[in-house]
Structures are given as structure tokens and as C-alpha cells.
């Protein structure tokens, strides 16, 4: 089992979700994040004092998948999240020892 985590631009979330569903993914978890990286932040001005805000709003998407699905899922995410502009984000894959479904207590494959 693997956990695929993607940090993407917020306005791509809908497309990523749709693409993952079409791929056959049944569930995922989303959370808010802010990113710092090559993409510059923005500037805000309050009463003439100018502030540089480094952090850029991002969305984190987490998907638990079978081992063999990890690579194709990364591809699906890249394809659906890509705008080709700096700051599109990252995807990474982490090994998972065990998964369980809270409702039923099922483990492993059945829990996803």
C-alpha cells in the first residue's frame, strides 16, 4: 500500500478530483496548505507599508492506493494538475504499512 500526496494549485483541485475518479479512485482526503518555493509570493500594501507574503495558497491531496497504482496515480495527478507555470506543485509517494476502515474495521486492500 502507498500514500500518494500531492501539493497543487487550489483551482486545479476539481480537475484532479475528477481525473482520479475516472481513473477509479474511490476516495481521497484534501486539506489546505501554503507553499514556499520557486513561485514568488505576492505583495500586499496596508497604509503605505508594503509586505511580501512568501507563502502561496496550495491544496494538499492524499490518496491511499495499492502498490501498483502508485505510479499511474502520480501520472494522473500530474496530468490533471499541470498548468505548465511555476508553482504547479509536487507529488510524492510514501510506503504504508497498514490501512484500516474505521466503519468496519476492515484492513488492507478492502479498507481503501
Amino acid at each position: 500500500m502507498k500514500l500518494v500526496t500531492a501539493v497543487i494549485k487550489p483551482f486545479r483541485l476539481d480537475d484532479v478530483k475528477t481525473a482520479l475518479q475516472q481513473f477509479g479512485i474511490q476516495g481521497l482526503t484534501v486539506s489546505e496548505a501554503s507553499g514556499f518555493g520557486r513561485q514568488r509570493g505576492h505583495t500586499e500594501v496596508y497604509r503605505g507599508a508594503e509586505y511580501t507574503v512568501d507563502l502561496v495558497p496550495k491544496v494538499r491531496v492524499e490518496v491511499l492506493v495499492e502498490d501498483h497504482e502508485a505510479d499511474p496515480v502520480v501520472d494522473v495527478i500530474i496530468k490533471s494538475a499541470q498548468t505548465g507555470r511555476i508553482g504547479d506543485g509536487k507529488v510524492w509517494v510514501v510506503p504504508v504499512d497498514a490501512v484500516a476502515r474505521v466503519r468496519t474495521g476492515e484492513r488492507g486492500h478492502d479498507a481503501i
Binding site: 509570493g41 505576492h42 505583495t43 500586499e44 507599508a49
Partner: protein, 452 residues
């Protein structure tokens, strides 16, 4: 000024302040409905209108609306009272004795009338902005505000309320507090601008749900409060007419709010608070022209009709594909037409206006006059607004770039974000030494900061 009646002056000045408050109230009513990334811009459109229209009102606006007719009842002389000249010690509205002299203690200062009418001009312009939420260039909006007020609002105000204006004085339509001048006028202009600017990115696909519904409720509450000044204040005296207008403004609004909720409950299965607030505004709009010509029953009927029809009308934009973002057309144009026409149906003779509607045996006469008044404003406002809007759109441009729209006009236009409620993930630092150092960094950041 011994001719002044303190009671009436107090009334008109307080009402003017209440109507002034309606524009910030509108900023909240509208601002709560936008997404969180464009709420400040939405409010800024109201504040910009407040600033600009106030200034041009005292320069040439009052004069164009209430100066001596320059011909045909179409517009007043822009120079007669330019800069309010000559009005500081004048008195208006005084009763005349048989010899034609003002009766002592019956007038109000001309400046009180200037004040009261100023805030009408301001809010009318601000109303339009709801149609172009999330995507308008702020500079273009400011230009539009000045030109539209001058070419559309001031003339139409003259038609209806100016001395010798053709709608009230000549054809004798009834528009007590501005159903045509304010609401139909703004509603039609909103439609024209929505057509010119086009749809927001994602319109009809992505939900644009209100980011702060309590703000919408706050706006509706403050609007209702201010609207008593708007409607009852239009009597320009603290008298029986004002009291009647007050009560009708309560009753019709209540009925419209309930009617909107009921429409939703039946159609969608849920009565929403956005619907209740919208119904409040729809009712206020509809009773505006009619509050001096109906009785309580008539007001209830007008409220119900406005509540139901406006609740249905706000859906038309999806069917017909114009993106009137915050439903200025569905609420103000439709509500304004309902109120203006229904005077012709439910007006009762004993009401202050003294006209009789179709249902009370008055025949079709008044209804016809009302239709002419409404129709004239619709045609004039739509055509002139379309021209103004198109000229602006083709020259300086009326719409921000797609990137800016996605990132949000608050940040890209005003370099601000509305909320920073959490202390936690704020990562920023001070750029330069305050105002002094801001110029250069500001410019460069404006270039860099916008790839969403």
C-alpha cells in the same frame, strides 16, 4: 431663515443620513455574496461611487437634476447651481399664502434637499456594481460611475422629480421614492454591463457561493433601516404621508421576504437566509414607488408579488446566459417594474398620492401612465448605458485579465486580502521602510505576484 420648519428639516436631514448609510450597507449586502477573494473590490465599488458621485453632485449633478429645464423636460441646466452656488441660504418647499409669499415656518433649507437627493444619486450608481462582481477593472468602474451618473441618472431624476420633468409633472405617473429613477434605472444598466463584461470564468459550472452570508444579512438589515429614510423621507416633511410611507415600507418588505422564502421552500425544499435577505430587498424595491399610493393590504400584495417574481427571476441568468453576478436585474429591475406597474392596479384613493388603481375601479388609465414611465426609463437607460459601457470596454477595457480574475481582484487590483483570521501560517515580512520605500517594490511585485 425664519421660514424653516425645524421638524421637517430634522426629518429630512436624518433621512438623508439614513440613506447615506445604505451605500455601505449595500457594500455588505453585495460583499457577503462574492467569493472571499473579491469582497474588498466589491465594497470598493460602492465606496468609489460614494466618493465620486458626491463630488459631481455638488458640482453639476444637482443642477442638472433640479436646475431650470433646458428644454422639453429632459434635463436641467448644469450651470445654474454649479457648485451649489446661490443655495446656501435658500429655502425650498415652503407653503405659499394667497399673496404668493412663503408662510413662515413651512420650508426646509435648500441644502437639506440637496443632501437628501445626493444620497439617492450615490446609491443608484452603487447598485449597478453588483452585476459585474469579481471581474471589473476598478478604474473603468470609476470612469463609468461619473459618466453614467451624468448622462443617465441626472437626466432621469430630472424627468421624474425636476420641476417641469415630464414623467411626474406631464404624464402624471406616480413614482414616490424612485422605483423608476433608482431601481429600474440601475437594474437595466446592470443588465447592459453584464452583457458587455461577459461571464465570469466558471459561470454555470463552478458554484459561486456567498463567502459570508451573515454579511448579506447585515447589509439587508441596514438597508431596511436606511430605506425608511429613503421612502418616508421622500415626503420631505414629517407628516401623514411620511407615516403612511413608513408603514408600507415595513409591510411590503415583510411580505416579500416571506414570499421569497415560501417560493424557495416550495421549489427547492429549503427556505434560505440568502433568500430571506433577498426578499427584504425585493420588497423594499417594489414598495419604493408605491408607498404613498396604497393601503396596508395593497402593500402586502405588492410585497408578495415582488417576492415571488424576483425569486423566480434570479434564475433567468442561467437560462439566458448573462452573468448578472449578484442579481441586480432579478431584484432591482424586476422589483422596480413590479412596484411601478402595480400602482396602476392596487392604488387606493384615500392614500396620499390620491390615485386609483384598476382593482379599485380606476380603470387602465393609471396603469398606462406607469407603463410609459417604466418603459421610457428602460429604453433610455439601456441604450445609453450600453453605449457608455462599450466605449469604456473598447478603450481602457472593462475587464481584468483571466489570471487576475482567478487569483482574485482583491489581491491583483487592491494588493489586499480581506481576512487573516489565523495567526498561524502567516508568512510575510515587511518590504522596505514604510511608505517611502514602497514605490519601487510595489511596482515590481505587481508584476511578479500574479501567477495564481
Amino acid at each position: 431663515m425664519p421660514d424653516i420648519n425645524a421638524g421637517n428639516t430634522a426629518w429630512v436631514l436624518v433621512c438623508a443620513a439614513m440613506v447615506l448609510l445604505m451605500t455601505p450597507a449595500l457594500a455588505f449586502f453585495y460583499g457577503g455574496m462574492t467569493r472571499s477573494k473579491s469582497v474588498l473590490n466589491m465594497m470598493m465599488m460602492s465606496f468609489g461611487a460614494l466618493g465620486l458621485v458626491s463630488i459631481i453632485w455638488v458640482l453639476w449633478g444637482y443642477s442638472m437634476a433640479f436646475g431650470a429645464d433646458v428644454g422639453g423636460g429632459l434635463v436641467g441646466s448644469p450651470t445654474e447651481f454649479f457648485g451649489l452656488k446661490g443655495l446656501m441660504t435658500e429655502v425650498v418647499g415652503a407653503e405659499m399664502d394667497d399673496a404668493g409669499n412663503a408662510v413662515a415656518g413651512t420650508g426646509i433649507p435648500a441644502y437639506a434637499f440637496v443632501a437628501f437627493q445626493a444620497v439617492f444619486a450615490i446609491i443608484t450608481v452603487a447598485l449597478i456594481s453588483g452585476a459585474i462582481a469579481d471581474r471589473a477593472k476598478y478604474g473603468a468602474w470609476l470612469v463609468f460611475a461619473v459618466v453614467w451618473a451624468t448622462l443617465v441618472y441626472f437626466p432621469v431624476a430630472h424627468w421624474v422629480w425636476g420641476e417641469g420633468g415630464w414623467i411626474l409633472d406631464k404624464i402624471e405617473a406616480v413614482d414616490f421614492a424612485g422605483g423608476t429613477v433608482v431601481h429600474i434605472n440601475a437594474g437595466v444598466a446592470a443588465l447592459a454591463l453584464a452583457l458587455i463584461l461577459g461571464k465570469r470564468i466558471g459561470f454555470g459550472k463552478v458554484p459561486f457561493r456567498p463567502h459570508n452570508v451573515p454579511f448579506v444579512m447585515l447589509g439587508a438589515g441596514l438597508l431596511w433601516f436606511g430605506w425608511f429614510g429613503f421612502n418616508a423621507g421622500s415626503a420631505l416633511a414629517a407628516d401623514g404621508t411620511a407615516a403612511v410611507a413608513w408603514v408600507m415600507t415595513l409591510v411590503a418588505t415583510a411580505a416579500a421576504s416571506l414570499a421569497w422564502m415560501a417560493t424557495e421552500k416550495i421549489r427547492d425544499g429549503h427556505a434560505t437566509s440568502l433568500g430571506a435577505a433577498s426578499g427584504v430587498v425585493a420588497g423594499l424595491v417594489a414598495i419604493t414607488p408605491a408607498c404613498s399610493s396604497v393601503d396596508a393590504l395593497g402593500a402586502v400584495v405588492i410585497g408578495i408579488v415582488a417576492g415571488v417574481l424576483c425569486a423566480l427571476a434570479v434564475g433567468l441568468k442561467y437560462r439566458w446566459g448573462y452573468d448578472d453576478s449578484l442579481d441586480v436585474v432579478g431584484v432591482h429591475l424586476v422589483g422596480g417594474i413590479v412596484g411601478t406597474l402595480m400602482i396602476g392596479l392596487v392604488a387606493v384613493e384615500e392614500a396620499p398620492a390620491g390615485v386609483v388603481g384598476l382593482f379599485y375601479g380606476g380603470g387602465l388609465d393609471q396603469l398606462g401612465k406607469q407603463a410609459v414611465a417604466a418603459g421610457a426609463v428602460i429604453v433610455f437607460s439601456f441604450v445609453v448605458t450600453l453605449i457608455i459601457g462599450l466605449v469604456i470596454h473598447k478603450t481602457i477595457g472593462f475587464r481584468v485579465s483571466g489570471d487576475d480574475e482567478i487569483q482574485g481582484v482583491d489581491l491583483t487590483t487592491h494588493a489586499e486580502t480581506a481576512y487573516e483570521l489565523s495567526d498561524a501560517t502567516y508568512g510575510g515580512h515587511f518590504a522596505g521602510g514604510g511608505p517611502g520605500g514602497a514605490v519601487k517594490a510595489g511596482v515590481s511585485a505587481a508584476k511578479e505576484g500574479v501567477s495564481a
